[in-house]
C-alpha cells in the first residue's frame, strides 16, 4: 500500500493528471483481468483490454502525428477542412505502462498469470523505479517478487544496490549530461536550414558522442531504477549488456533495451509469425520471418516516438537484421568478430542519426556534414570530450561485464573519486541554474 502511494505521489509530481489517467487505466485493466479469468469470452475481453491500452497510447502519443501526416497528404488537394489536432499533454512513461498493461491482460488470457489484487496491479503498473522508462517486467516475475519480498536486505544486495545507484549516477550525470551532451551541437547545426558549411569534425564528434550519450543516459537510468528497486527488495531485469560489443545487428537487439525486445518478441513477433506460418502451412517461412521482423522493427521505431524519423530508424534496423538473416552472416574468427563489431557499431550509429534528427532533411545534412572536408584543423577542440566520454563508458562496460576486476582498495578509491566528481558537477549545476537534461527515454 505504501509503495503504491509513494509511486503515485512520485508520478503526481510531474502532473496530477498523469496519476489520474494511470489510476483510471489501472481500474479498467483490473476489471478486465478479473473478467477474463474463466470466461467463455476471454478472447474478446483480452482483445478489448489490449485495444484499450493501445487506444490510450494512440490518443495521447500518436493522434497528432497521424493527423498531421494525413493533413500533409491531403493539403495538396486543397481540402477546406483539414483534420483538427488534439491538444493533449503526453503523459510521461505512457509507452511503458500501457505495454505493461497489455502484458498483464495477455498473461491472464494465456493462463500464465493469475488475476492480481487491485493494489498489486496498481503497483505493477506504477512502481516508481520503472514507471518512467522501464525496464519492462513480466507480471509473473513482478508478482512473484512482490509476494516474496525479503524481510531484510542482505549485505550483498545492499552493496549491489548502491553499486547500481552509483553507476547510474556516473553514467547519467558525468557521461551523458556533462560530456556526451555536446553531441547535440552537431544536431543543432544539422537542423539549420540551407547548407551552411560547419566543420566536419563537429558532425563526426556528434556521431560518436550521441551513441555514447544515449547509451549512458538510458543504461544509467536503468541502473538507477534497478538499484532503487533492489533497495526495496525487487530485482528488475537487466536491460543492457554491452550492446556496442555486438558483432551483428541481431545481437545488438539482444543486448540493447533487452526488455523491450523481449516484449515485442513475446507479444508481436512470435504470435504473428506462428499465426502466418500456420495459415500458409510453412510455405514461405523465410519471407514471413523477414516480413514480421520488418514490421516489428518499424513498430519498435514508432514506439520510440511519433515522427517518421523513428519509423525509418526502426526500418533501418529491420533491414539490417533481415540482411543478416538472409545472408546467414556469423563471424567465426577473432578478426572477423572484431571487424564485424566495428561495422555493427557504425551501422547502429547511422541509425542514431536518424533517431535524433528533427527531420529527414536534418539527417541528410548531418550525413553530408560528416563526409564533407571542412576545417579539419579543429581536431584538438573536438577530440577531448569524445575520448574522455568514450574511455569512461568503455571502462564501466568492462567492469559490468566482469572483464575488469579491482581489489577492494581500488574499488574504495574509485568510489570516492566518483563521489567527488558527482558532487562537483551537482554543485556546479545548482549554482549555474536548472540545466538537467531530461532522461532521453523518459519522453516515451
Amino acid at each position: 500500500m505504501l509503495l503504491v502511494i509513494i509511486s503515485y505521489l512520485f508520478y503526481a509530481l510531474f502532473d496530477v493528471r498523469f496519476a489520474v489517467l494511470l489510476a483510471g487505466l489501472s481500474i479498467a485493466i483490473y476489471f478486465i483481468g478479473q473478467a477474463i479469468s474463466n470466461s467463455p469470452r476471454a478472447y474478446w475481453l483480452a482483445t478489448i483490454g489490449v485495444a484499450l491500452n493501445l487506444s490510450v497510447l494512440f490518443i495521447f502519443k500518436y493522434a497528432n502525428f497521424f493527423l498531421d501526416s494525413l493533413h500533409s497528404i491531403l493539403a495538396p488537394s486543397n481540402l477546406t477542412n483539414p483534420p483538427v489536432g488534439l491538444n493533449l499533454l503526453l503523459p510521461i512513461g505512457i509507452s511503458f505502462y500501457t505495454f505493461q498493461g497489455i502484458s498483464y491482460i495477455v498473461g491472464i488470457y494465456r493462463k500464465k498469470v493469475l488475476p492480481a489484487s487491485f493494489l498489486d496491479l496498481m503497483l505493477y503498473l506504477a512502481f516508481f523505479p520503472k514507471l518512467i522508462a522501464g525496464p519492462f517486467v513480466s507480471p509473473k516475475q513482478f508478482f512473484d517478487e512482490l509476494h516474496h519480498l525479503p524481510g531484510r536486505l542482505s549485505g550483498s544486495d545492499q552493496t549491489a544496490a548502491f553499486r547500481l545507484l552509483l553507476s547510474g549516477l556516473v553514467k547519467k550525470v558525468l557521461i551523458a549530461d556533462s560530456l556526451a551532451s555536446l553531441a547535440q551541437v552537431a544536431y543543432r547545426a544539422a537542423a539549420q536550414p540551407g547548407h551552411p558549411a560547419f566543420p566536419t569534425l563537429l558532425f563526426i564528434q556528434g556521431f560518436y558522442l550521441y551513441a555514447i550519450e544515449i547509451y549512458a543516459d538510458f543504461s544509467g537510468y536503468t541502473d538507477l531504477a534497478r538499484g532503487s528497486a533492489l533497495l526495496l527488495g525487487f530485482r528488475l531485469p537487466e536491460n543492457f549488456r554491452q550492446p556496442y560489443l555486438s558483432a551483428t545487428p541481431a545481437e545488438f537487439w539482444n543486448r540493447w533495451h533487452m526488455s523491450l525486445t523481449a516484449w515485442f518478441r513475446e507479444y508481436l513477433f512470435f504470435p504473428m509469425s506462428r499465426s502466418l506460418l500456420t495459415r500458409t502451412k510453412q510455405r514461405w517461412s523465410r519471407q514471413i520471418q523477414i516480413g514480421v521482423n520488418m514490421l516489428t522493427m518499424i513498430l519498435i521505431g514508432l514506439w520510440h516516438g511519433a515522427n517518421w524519423t523513428f519509423v525509418v530508424w526502426g526500418a533501418w534496423h529491420g533491414l539490417l537484421v533481415s540482411i543478416e538473416r538472409l545472408t546467414g552472416w556469423k563471424p567465426q574468427k577473432g578478426w572477423q568478430t572484431f571487424l564485424s563489431t566495428l561495422i555493427t557499431f557504425h551501422l547502429v550509429g547511422i541509425g542514431w542519426v536518424l533517431f535524433n534528427s528533427a527531420n529527414f532533411s536534418a539527417a541528410v545534412r548531418f550525413f553530408a556534414g560528416m563526409i564533407s572536408i571542412n576545417n579539419l584543423y579543429w581536431l584538438p577542440d573536438f577530440l577531448p570530450p569524445l575520448l574522455l566520454a568514450g574511455a569512461l563508458m568503455v571502462g564501466l562496460d568492462l567492469i559490468e561485464k566482469g572483464s575488469l576486476h579491482f581489489p577492494a582498495r581500488i574499488q574504495q578509491v574509485g568510489f570516492i573519486t566518483a563521489v567527488v566528481v558527482l558532487t562537483g558537477l551537482t554543485i556546479l549545476a545548482m549554482v549555474r541554474g536548472s540545466d538537467v537534461h531530461p532522461f532521453i527515454y523518459g519522453n516515451f
Partner: protein
C-alpha cells in the same frame, strides 16, 4: 586507519583530476567568473534575455550604493537576442572560412546588455567578415589563448584587442591553471551573497544616481567603484607597476604572434564611464559622493598597486587621471607600431550633444556607444590598411 586515509586522499585527488578534465572538455559546465578556457554559452544556440535598470552590473556588485528604483521607473533598457557559433562565441553560425577581422574583447565588445554590438555594426557598415571572440571576463591571457586557438587558424587580416585600462591593465592576475581552483570562491559567493554583501562590512549611504552638471546639460550619473579606484592612479605610477609589465608582456606576445602570420593588430581603447564623464563635470563638488568607499591605490615596493586607506581620494585627482590609461595605450601603440582605435573624443562629443554612450545604471556601452565605436573603427580601417 592510515590505509583508509590514503585511499580517501587518493580518491579525492583523482576526483579533482577527473572533474578538471570534464570541465576542460565541456566549458558549458563552467560558471561565469571562473577561468574561461572556452565560451560557456552552448554552441549553435539562440539566447535571449531582457535587461531592466535593476539588472545592472553596478547594482549587482554594490546594491547599497544605489537608491531603490521605484517599480514604475524600472524600465526595460534592452532586449537581447543572439546566436552562438560552433564554439559558443556570439556570432551567427557557421564561422566563415575566411575572416577579415577578429575581435578579442570582454563583455563590452561581446555586446553584453545590447542587441547589436559594435563588431556586428562594423561588419554591416564595412561588409567585412568579422569573427567576435569576445567573452565576459576575458583577460589578456585568455585573449592570447583565443588568438592562438581560434583566431590565427582563420588567418584574419586584422585582430582588434579591446583594452579597458581599468580592468585589462589593473591587478592583472593570470587565470589559474586549474579550473577547479576558482570553484570554491564562486560557490561560496553564490551561497553567502544573500546573507553578506560589501555593505555588511563597509556600509555606505546610497548615492546613485547622482546629479552632475556638464556643459549645457545635467546627467544622472552612476559609477562602478572599481573604475573609480583605478582612476586614483596616474599614468607614471601605472607604467611603473607590475600590472603594466604583465599587460605589455601579453600584448607584445600577442602582437608578435599575429604579425608572424601577417595579421595586423589594433588596440581598441574602451573608455569607462568615469573616464569620460569626470573630466566634463563643471562642479567637482558634485562628484565628491562618488568617493565613498573608494580606497586609492599606490605603488608598492614590489611594483604591485596596493590599496592604501591612509590616502584620501580627491575628485580633482580622479579628473586629472581620467585618461591615464588611454595615454599609456597611445604611447604603447606608437612604440610598438600598433594601431589604436580611440573613440574617446567621439564619446565626449556625444555626451556634450546630449546622447550618452553608456547604459543608465550599467557600466556597459549602450546602442549609441556601440554605434560610435563602429563608426570610429570603420574610419580607422579606411585610414590604415593592413600592409
Amino acid at each position: 586507519m592510515l590505509s583508509a586515509l590514503f585511499n580517501l586522499t587518493l580518491g579525492v585527488l583523482l576526483g579533482f583530476l577527473l572533474l578538471e578534465g570534464v570541465l576542460r572538455s565541456n566549458s558549458q559546465l563552467l560558471l561565469r567568473g571562473m577561468a574561461l578556457p572556452a565560451p560557456i554559452d552552448a554552441p549553435i544556440s539562440n539566447r535571449q534575455y531582457d535587461v531592466y535598470y535593476s539588472d545592472a552590473d553596478e547594482i549587482f556588485w554594490r546594491p547599497d550604493l544605489f537608491h531603490p528604483i521605484p517599480a514604475g521607473q524600472n524600465k526595460l533598457e534592452a532586449h537581447v537576442d543572439y546566436q552562438t557559433d560552433e564554439f559558443g562565441f556570439r556570432n551567427t553560425p557557421p564561422i566563415p572560412t575566411k575572416v577579415d577581422l577578429v575581435v578579442l574583447g570582454r563583455s563590452i565588445s561581446l555586446g553584453a546588455q545590447q542587441p547589436s554590438p559594435w563588431p556586428e555594426l562594423f561588419a554591416n557598415r564595412m561588409n567585412w567578415k568579422v569573427w567576435n571572440l569576445s567573452q565576459p571576463g576575458s583577460g589578456m591571457d585568455t585573449k592570447l589563448d583565443y588568438l592562438r586557438r581560434y583566431a590565427l587558424p582563420r588567418r584574419p587580416s586584422w585582430v582588434v584587442v579591446e583594452v579597458q585600462p581599468a580592468i585589462d591593465i589593473s591587478q592583472l592576475e593570470p587565470s589559474p591553471s586549474w579550473l577547479i581552483s576558482s570553484l570554491p570562491v564562486q560557490v561560496l559567493q553564490y551561497f553567502l551573497k544573500p546573507f553578506f554583501s560589501p555593505a555588511s562590512f563597509d556600509p555606505v549611504p546610497p548615492i546613485y544616481p547622482l546629479k552632475v552638471d556638464l556643459p549645457g546639460r545635467s546627467i544622472q550619473l552612476t559609477c562602478c567603484l572599481h573604475y573609480l579606484e583605478m582612476q586614483t592612479v596616474d599614468a607614471k605610477t601605472w607604467q611603473a607597476s607590475q600590472d603594466w609589465t604583465f599587460f605589455s608582456g601579453y600584448m607584445n606576445t600577442l602582437v608578435a604572434e599575429a604579425r608572424k602570420q601577417g595579421t595586423c593588430v589594433a588596440i581598441l581603447y574602451a573608455p569607462s564611464k568615469p573616464e569620460i564623464y569626470f573630466p566634463l563635470a563643471i562642479n567637482p563638488d558634485q562628484l565628491k559622493p562618488t568617493l565613498y568607499g573608494v580606497v586609492p591605490l599606490r605603488l608598492g615596493q614590489d611594483g604591485s598597486l596596493i590599496a592604501d586607506s591612509e590616502i584620501t581620494p580627491n575628485v580633482e585627482e580622479l579628473q586629472k587621471n581620467a585618461l591615464a590609461g588611454r595615454n599609456l595605450l597611445i604611447n604603447y601603440s606608437r612604440q610598438q607600431g600598433v594601431g589604436l582605435i580611440d573613440p574617446s573624443q567621439a564619446f565626449t562629443q556625444s555626451v556634450l550633444d546630449g546622447a550618452d554612450p553608456f547604459m543608465v545604471y550599467d557600466s556597459h556601452w549602450n546602442e549609441t556607444g556601440h554605434e560610435l565605436v563602429a563608426k570610429v573603427a570603420a574610419q580607422f580601417f579606411r585610414d590604415n590598411p593592413c600592409r
